[in-house]
C-alpha cells in the first residue's frame, strides 16, 4: 500500500518536474540575463574625480574603453572567484564586466576543444587555447591581426619588448593571426632549473658541475660514495628530460621539440630532422652513458611523481635535472625534519653542453587566448577590442599582476613599485594573505602581461641572482617557431606524423636505456625516412619558405 503511494507520488513528481524544467529553463535564461544586466547597472561610471586625473586633455586611459557598462563572456581555466578585487577595480576603470565560465584546469582542453569545434554559441573570449590550423582557418575564430590597427597599446608592447616573433609564429597560412599572447613576459625567464644537494656536494668536496661532463664525473663520485643511490633524477620522463638538455646539445627534443621533431636552424633558415642529426646522437649517447653506469634513474620512464619525491627526500638522488623553482623547499624541509639538518637543495646555473649552457626552450608568452568570430557581430565589439588593447597597457598589466595601488603595492619616490609587505609570496614567506586568491592576479587567464619587475619582486631573493645571471648570459633559448599549414598540408602531415613520432619516442627510449645499440644508428635514420621523415622535411621547408612574412 505504502509502496504504491510512494511510486505514484514519484511518478507525479517526475512528470511535474519535467514540465517545470522546461519552463525553468526559460526562466533561468531570463534570470541570468537579468542578473548580468543588474551587475553592469550597479557599476558606478567613474567620474573624473574618482580616477584622480583632472582635465579633459589627460582623460585617463581607462575611460576610453567603454562609455557604457558592457559585459563580455569569458571562458576561464582553473579556480575562479567572482569576487576577485582586481576584477572589481577593472570594472571601475573600464566599465567592463566579465561573465566567466570557469572550467577546471585538468579537463579544460576537452571543454574548449568541444566549444571551438562545434563553433556554436561560443563565449567571446576563450582563454588558454592554442588554435590549430584547421580551427583558425575555419572562420569560427576572429582574425585579431585585422584589428591590430585598433590596438595601439598592444602593438607598442610588442615593439618595446621585441616580441614580433610571437606574432610571426602565430601567423596562419592565410597571413592572419588568430590568437593573442597571454602570460607574456617582458623579459624571457623560466623557472625550470637544475638542482643539486649542496650539502652532499660540499661534504664530499665535489665541485658543483659546470658542464655536462662535470656532471658525469660528479655523479660517478656520488655513486661510489652512495652505492644505493641513483644520483641523477628527472620527473615526467623523456619529455621533460630532453626538453631540458637538448638546447645545450644544439638541438631540441621532448616537450621542446619543434613540429614533429623538426628543428629550425636559424643560420641557414632551414628546418632539419632533429633525431637524425649528429647533435641529437651525441645527446643520446651521453644519456646512455649516464644510464648504463647506473648514474641515472633506471626507471625514470615509469616513475610516479611520488617515487620521484621520495628519492629526492631520502638521499637517493642528488641531482634533479628538471624541476621548477620552489620544489626544493619541500624536499629540503622533509630532509631536515628527518634529521639531516644541513640538507639543502639549491638550483644551480645551467650546465654547459657542446652548444653552450642553456635551459629549456621558452617563449615570452606561455599561453595564448582566442576570440570568437561571433564577437564581431555583437554591439560591443569595438569596446571588446579596446578592452583587449587596454589589458596590454601599463594600467591593465599592473592591475592583474601587481594588483591595486595602495592596497597590494605602493609606489616610491623613484617610481618603483613596492609590494605590500603583508602579502605572502616566495620573497615574503611570512606574509599573511595570498594576493592571487583575493585579487585574481597572476593567473593564467587574466594576466595578459607578466611584468618583469613584479616577477622579481615576488621571487625569492636567492633566485634573483641566478635568474639575472641567466638573463645576462642568454641562457633561455627561444622555443621552436611554428609553421602555418594549409589544410592540404595538414592532410599530408597526418599521414606520417603519428607513426613517425611514435617510432622516434620508442627508439629514443631504447637508445638511452640500452635496448638498441648505437651501431644501429643508420638503420634508425633509414627507418625514419621510411616512415615519412623526408616527406615531412620537404613539406615543412616548403611551407616555411612560402609563408607570407
Amino acid at each position: 500500500m505504502k509502496k504504491e503511494t510512494v511510486k505514484r507520488l514519484l511518478a507525479l513528481v517526475l512528470s511535474t518536474s519535467m514540465l517545470l524544467s522546461l519552463t525553468a529553463c526559460k526562466n533561468e535564461a531570463n534570470s541570468s540575463a537579468a542578473s548580468s544586466d543588474a551587475t553592469s547597472n550597479n557599476v558606478v561610471t567613474p567620474t573624473s574625480a574618482d580616477v584622480g586625473e583632472t582635465g579633459e586633455e589627460t582623460a585617463p586611459a581607462g575611460n576610453l574603453v567603454s562609455d557604457e557598462p558592457v559585459t563580455f563572456t569569458f571562458m576561464y581555466s582553473g579556480e575562479y572567484d567572482p569576487n576577485y578585487k582586481a576584477l572589481a577595480k577593472m570594472t571601475e576603470l573600464t566599465n567592463v564586466t566579465l561573465d566567466v565560465t570557469a572550467i577546471p584546469d585538468s579537463d579544460y582542453d576537452t571543454r574548449n576543444q568541444l566549444i571551438i569545434n562545434t563553433g556554436e554559441d561560443m563565449p567571446d573570449l576563450i582563454s588558454k587555447t592554442k588554435p590549430k590550423a584547421a580551427q583558425a582557418l575555419s572562420g569560427v575564430l576572429l582574425p585579431i591581426s585585422d584589428y591590430y590597427d585598433q590596438m595601439p597599446n598592444f602593438m607598442k608592447f610588442i615593439e618595446e619588448n621585441n616580441l614580433q616573433y610571437l606574432i610571426d609564429n602565430a601567423t596562419q597560412s592565410d597571413g592572419k593571426v588568430y590568437e593573442l599572447p597571454i602570460n607574456t613576459k617582458e623579459v624571457k625567464t623560466a623557472t625550470k632549473q637544475i638542482f643539486i644537494r649542496k650539502d652532499v656536494f660540499d661534504d664530499n668536496n665535489i665541485p658543483y658541475p659546470v658542464t655536462y661532463d662535470d656532471l658525469y664525473e660528479a655523479a660517478k663520485q656520488l655513486k661510489e660514495i652512495y652505492p644505493e643511490s641513483q644520483p641523477i633524477q628527472v620527473i615526467y620522463g623523456n619529455g621533460n628530460l630532453l626538453d631540458m638538455i637538448a638546447p645545450s646539445f644544439g638541438t631540441s627534443g621532448g616537450w621542446g621539440k619543434g613540429i614533429d621533431n623538426f628543428h629550425y636552424v636559424e643560420e641557414t633558415d632551414e628546418w632539419i630532422f632533429a633525431p637524425a642529426s649528429d647533435e641529437f646522437k651525441v645527446m643520446l649517447e651521453y644519456l646512455h652513458k649516464l644510464y648504463a653506469e647506473g648514474l641515472f634513474n633506471q626507471e625514470y620512464s615509469t616513475f610516479s611523481s611520488d617515487m620521484y619525491k621520495q628519492m629526492a627526500t631520502t638521499d637517493k638522488a642528488f641531482v634533479l635535472m628538471a624541476d621548477w623553482l620552489g620544489c626544493e623547499k619541500e624536499f629540503t624541509e622533509a630532509l631536515r625534519e628527518a634529521g639531516q639538518e644541513n640538507a639543502d637543495w639549491i638550483p644551480i646555473y645551467p650546465l654547459e653542453g657542446p652548444a653552450g649552457a642553456y635551459l629549456s626552450r621558452v617563449s615570452n608568452s606561455s599561453q595564448t587566448m582566442v576570440v570568437a568570430a561571433s564577437a564581431r557581430d555583437k554591439d560591443y565589439f569595438p569596446q571588446l577590442i579596446k578592452w583587449l588593447d587596454w589589458m596590454y597597457t601599463e594600467e591593465g598589466a599592473d592591475l592583474f599582476s601587481w594588483g591595486v595601488e595602495g592596497e597590494t603595492y605602493t609606489i616610491d619616490e623613484a617610481g618603483n613599485k613596492i609590494l605590500n609587505p603583508t602579502v605572502k609570496c616566495a620573497s615574503q614567506p611570512e606574509g599573511t594573505w595570498d594576493i592571487a586568491k583575493e585579487y585574481g592576479t597572476s593567473n593564467n587567464c587574466f594576466t595578459f602581461v607578466y611584468p618583469y619587475d613584479q616577477e622579481l619582486a615576488t621571487m625569492e631573493d636567492s633566485y634573483v641572482d641566478l635568474i639575472q645571471k641567466e638573463i645576462e648570459n642568454e641562457a633561455f633559448p627561444t622555443s621552436e617557431p611554428s609553421i602555418p599549414l594549409t589544410e592540404e598540408e595538414v592532410d599530408i602531415q597526418s599521414l606520417y606524423s603519428t607513426n613517425l613520432n611514435d617510432y622516434i619516442d620508442q627508439m629514443i627510449a631504447k637508445f638511452i636505456m640500452g635496448g638498441a645499440s648505437f651501431s644501429d644508428w643508420d638503420n634508425f635514420v633509414t627507418e625514419c625516412k621510411n616512415k615519412g621523415a623526408d616527406k615531412l622535411l620537404e613539406l615543412y621547408n616548403n611551407a616555411w619558405h612560402n609563408m607570407s612574412r
Partner: protein
C-alpha cells in the same frame, strides 16, 4: 496430404487467425507497451538522434561547420585506417587484451561471490563485501601511480619480495611480456569485488528449499554448489558473459595510456589510444567517428554470434 489448393486455403485461414491472435496478445499486453513508451521516447531522443552524427564517418568535418559534415567523402576515412598496417596491429592487441581479460577476469568475481556465500557470519560477510569493492573507487590515475610504486625494480614491494628469494628484480612496467599480466591482474583486483555484487544478488534468488532437498539427497556442500547454486545463477552469468563479449574492442583508454611505455607500446597500444594520438594531429573527427563506427559494428557482430550460440546451447540469451 492436402492438395495444393487446400493447403493454401488453410494457410490463408491460419494466417488470418495468427494475425488475430497476435493482435489479441498485443491488446492483452497494452499496458506494458504504454509503460515502455517513455523509455522508448527517451532512447530515440537521447540515443538515436545523436547517432545521426555518425554520418560524419562518411563526410568531411569542418570546424564550426555542420555536425553532419560538409562534403561527402564516402569510404575515404575507412580506407585511411583499413590500409594502415599499424592499425591492424593495434586491432590485434586490443582483441588479445580483451579476450585474455575475459578469460581470466570473468570467473573471478563469480568465484568470489560463491566463496562469500559460504561465510556463515553475517557481519563478517557484510564487512568483506564492502571492503572488496573499495578499489573500484580509486581513479585510474591513482591506480597507475600505485602500480608504478609497487612494481618498481628498485624500491617496489614485489621486487623486494622476489629478491629475498634470490630472484633478480623484474622491470615489470617496461617489459613487453609483463604488460598484459599487469593490466589484467590489476583490473581483476580493482573490479572483482564490485563485479561480484551482481552474483551475490543473483544468489539470493536461489530457493533454499532446493538446498535442503539436495542435502536430504545426501549431497555435500560441494555438490550442492555444483547442482544448485551454479545452475541457479547461470542466467545471470550467461547474460553478463554475453554482454562482456560485446565490448571486446573497446578496452580501456585511460589506463593503457598511462601504463604503456615506449618499450611496451608494440603490444600495449590499443585502438582507443592509437586513435587518440592520431586525433591530436588535427581535430580529425571524421576519422575517429569512422573508427568508432567500425568498432561498434564489430562488437555488434560478435555479440550477435555469441548470443546465437548461447540461445542454442542454453535457455538464456539476450534476444
Amino acid at each position: 496430404m492436402v492438395n495444393a489448393k487446400g493447403k493454401t486455403e488453410s494457410s490463408a485461414i491460419s494466417k488470418k487467425k495468427r494475425r488475430e491472435q497476435v493482435w489479441k496478445r498485443i491488446m492483452r499486453d497494452r499496458v506494458l507497451y504504454f509503460i515502455l513508451l517513455i523509455p522508448i521516447i527517451y532512447l530515440i531522443i537521447f540515443k538515436y538522434v545523436p547517432m545521426a552524427g555518425n554520418i560524419l564517418a562518411f563526410r568531411k568535418f569542418k570546424v564550426g561547420g555542420s555536425m553532419f559534415g560538409i562534403k561527402w567523402e564516402g569510404f575515404k576515412y575507412f580506407q585511411l585506417f583499413i590500409t594502415d598496417t599499424y592499425f591492424w596491429q593495434v586491432f590485434i592487441n586490443t582483441l588479445i587484451l580483451s579476450v585474455l581479460n575475459l578469460i581470466f577476469g570473468f570467473p573471478i568475481p563469480i568465484i568470489l561471490a560463491l566463496l562469500l556465500n559460504e561465510v556463515k557470519n553475517k557481519t563478517g560477510k557484510r564487512v568483506v563485501q564492502t571492503i572488496t569493492y573499495l578499489p573500484k573507487f580509486l581513479s585510474t590515475v591513482v591506480v597507475v601511480s600505485m602500480l608504478q610504486t609497487l612494481l618498481s625494480p628498485s624500491t617496489g614491494a614485489i621486487n623486494m619480495f622476489l629478491n629475498k628469494f634470490g630472484i633478480d628484480s623484474i622491470y615489470f612496467l617496461n617489459e613487453i611480456s609483463w604488460f598484459r599480466p599487469v593490466y589484467i591482474i590489476s583490473d581483476i583486483w580493482q573490479f572483482m569485488g564490485w563485479n561480484s555484487i551482481l552474483y551475490l544478488t543473483a544468489l539470493t534468488n536461489v530457493d533454499p528449499q532446493l538446498y535442503e532437498a539436495a542435502a536430504i539427497d545426501g549431497a555435500g556442500r560441494w555438490k550442492q554448489t555444483l547442482y544448485v547454486t551454479i545452475p541457479g545463477i547461470l542466467p545471470t552469468i550467461v547474460i553478463t558473459l554475453i554482454l562482456s563479449t560485446g565490448s571486446v574492442l573497446s578496452v580501456g583508454f585511460e589506463k593503457v595510456l598511462l601504463l604503456y611505455t615506449a618499450n611496451t607500446m608494440e603490444i600495449a597500444d590499443v585502438i582507443s589510444t592509437y586513435t587518440y594520438r592520431m586525433g591530436i594531429v588535427n581535430s580529425q573527427y571524421s576519422y575517429t567517428t569512422a573508427v568508432g563506427l567500425f568498432q561498434g559494428i564489430i562488437n555488434l557482430i560478435i555479440i550477435t554470434v555469441v548470443n546465437q550460440i548461447s540461445r542454442k546451447t542454453s535457455e538464456t540469451s539476450l534476444w
